[in-house]
Symmetry: C2
Subunit: 312 residues, 2 copies
């Protein structure tokens, strides 16, 4: 039976000032997925983790994405998908995108790469719709392409992978729940032109800083005057994590996706490790459990899993 | 008597979606200025054109910028400034910025380059204050540095020169008046978050397109959903100029500064020439006099004038 195993990475959407348009992929954590062709038609999903996610294809994020892909071709055979989800659902680290993008990436490999990146993004967005009710591509795009990605437009889909230098990234996932619907409702529908101009100066600075590999410019541009002031109140300890991370040498950072995870970018690994210690200390003081990752920008996105010990 | 002659170029501020943050320099038109040291103190200004601009230093744009520079050093001698202004005041092509930036650039050359670009921008902003009541740097920055420039922040001043490919630029200056105060008042102070997000996707796309030399991406990103819809009604024929320019092969464009000039970027000179014909035809049909330029992106900014025939 023909099969393939892949690693599908966690991602950070809403990259500070780049709300809804900029995202990036992380080296860790990642999900492991194995997709196999099977003789009989249909789609079977098996979970090898404790997240108790649905296995009916229509209700499953990866399943919905795969069904969208299967609709575009005349498939004679079916698929068996095994998932070891290591990116915790609800963390704000693109867990559903990793499932949706990973499934269609794996299927495309098995089918001989007949689909373009744009096609795969389009299919995976059906998975995001199952997860959150909205067909967004903020996490899917960096998950598939790696690096830092820009979604200039959703309709029509216009995505750009941006050159970016090495970046060390610290992520803390406090074990609290921020409902995406709350995070959406807390945003004002109007913003002042003055703040909007400040925001677009920072976006232009961030894109230029990434493409020029200018870490100082990246740091100066990592400022969000519109979304973060509203949403950060949903995450206890946010301001202190930010203050102490910057003091510890981070370039800057903010809320990952719609939270509750918080991320910080650093130029060096030692700064990223120092930031992790500060993050842990803040949540320890508050008595909130957390999981911290010290990782790097993932330039490749989803990759074929070569590690025989990890193949499901 | 030690003296220097320079060419100070016209500039386009408010580069479509990059309102208040992105600008560029043109090869043409430009002002010619000659600055000389003189034995006796003080500042004398002579105009060699018909624009009837003030000669009292405090009321003159170049004069105010030079006075700001002179205040920071103990000048024993004075300056004589001769100006041949070829960039029409009120055109929306950075006429006052060319005066202010040109004067302090020339002075810095005569004084042995003791000031940084940031210093010169700071001095020149005093000139802009005389011209429009506001200390803005949107035109000064591309005038001094050349190319496409980003002003990420004014306080503190944070400017970035962006890599950009060859661009052909067509400009039409219809001989009508758009008062800067009207152009300001017509803007709403609030914008919808949805439109703001669309705008910052385009800004990120424009910066990425310029830096990657991707003319198609530049073209797709040259869209302003916030400022242009409000301001374009002050310029008769704007929509038709835009429609016909795009049909003639322009990548995109919009209002130069706060108008009334309209500019279009093109990948080829032949497209830029075709655009010029369309622009001329539109204003001819309306019975409005115009002046059209077919020029290119100026990568150098202000330069020392080597042309003996043009030295004042």
């Amino acid at each position: 039976m023909k099969s393939i195993s892949i690693k599908s990475p966690a991602t950070i959407a809403n990259l500070v000032c780049g709300f809804d348009i900029l995202g990036l992929a992380l080296e860790e954590p990642y999900d492991i997925m194995t997709l196999s062709l099977k003789e009989d038609p249909g789609l079977e999903i098996q979970h090898l983790d404790d997240h108790d996610l649905p296995t009916e294809p229509e209700k499953n994020v990866a399943g919905a994405a795969l069904l969208a892909l299967m609709e575009e071709i005349s498939v004679k055979h079916g698929f068996l998908l095994k998932v070891d989800k290591r990116i915790k659902p609800g963390s704000g680290l693109g867990s559903s995108a990793a499932s949706a993008a990973g499934a269609v990436y794996a299927a495309n490999q098995l089918l001989g790469n007949i689909f373009s990146d744009d096609d795969l993004i389009r299919f995976a967005m059906f998975g995001e719709k199952v997860a959150s009710g909205v067909k967004h591509a903020d996490n899917i795009t960096p998950c598939l392409l790696g690096g830092v990605t820009l979604i200039r437009s959703i309709h029509p889909l216009d995505i750009v992978k941006l050159n970016a230098p090495e970046l060390h990234i610290t992520v803390v996932h406090p074990q609290i729940e921020v409902r995406t619907s709350d995070a959406r409702q807390i945003l004002k529908t109007e913003v002042s032109l003055k703040q909007a101009i400040k925001q677009w100066g920072n976006i232009a600075g961030l894109v230029a800083g990434l493409m020029q590999g200018d870490h100082d410019l990246i740091g100066r541009s990592l400022e969000d005057v519109i979304i973060e002031p509203a949403r950060s109140i949903l995450i206890p300890g946010f301001e202190e994590v930010k203050r102490r991370s910057l003091a510890a040498g981070a370039l800057g950072g903010g809320i990952s996706g719609s939270g509750p995870s918080i991320f910080m970018l650093s130029k060096t690994k030692s700064a990223a490790l120092e930031v992790a210690r500060e993050m842990e200390a803040v949540f320890q003081q508050m008595g909130i459990d957390q999981k911290t990752y010290v990782t790097r920008l993932n330039h490749q996105g989803i990759i074929i899993n070569q590690d025989q010990n990890e193949i499901l």
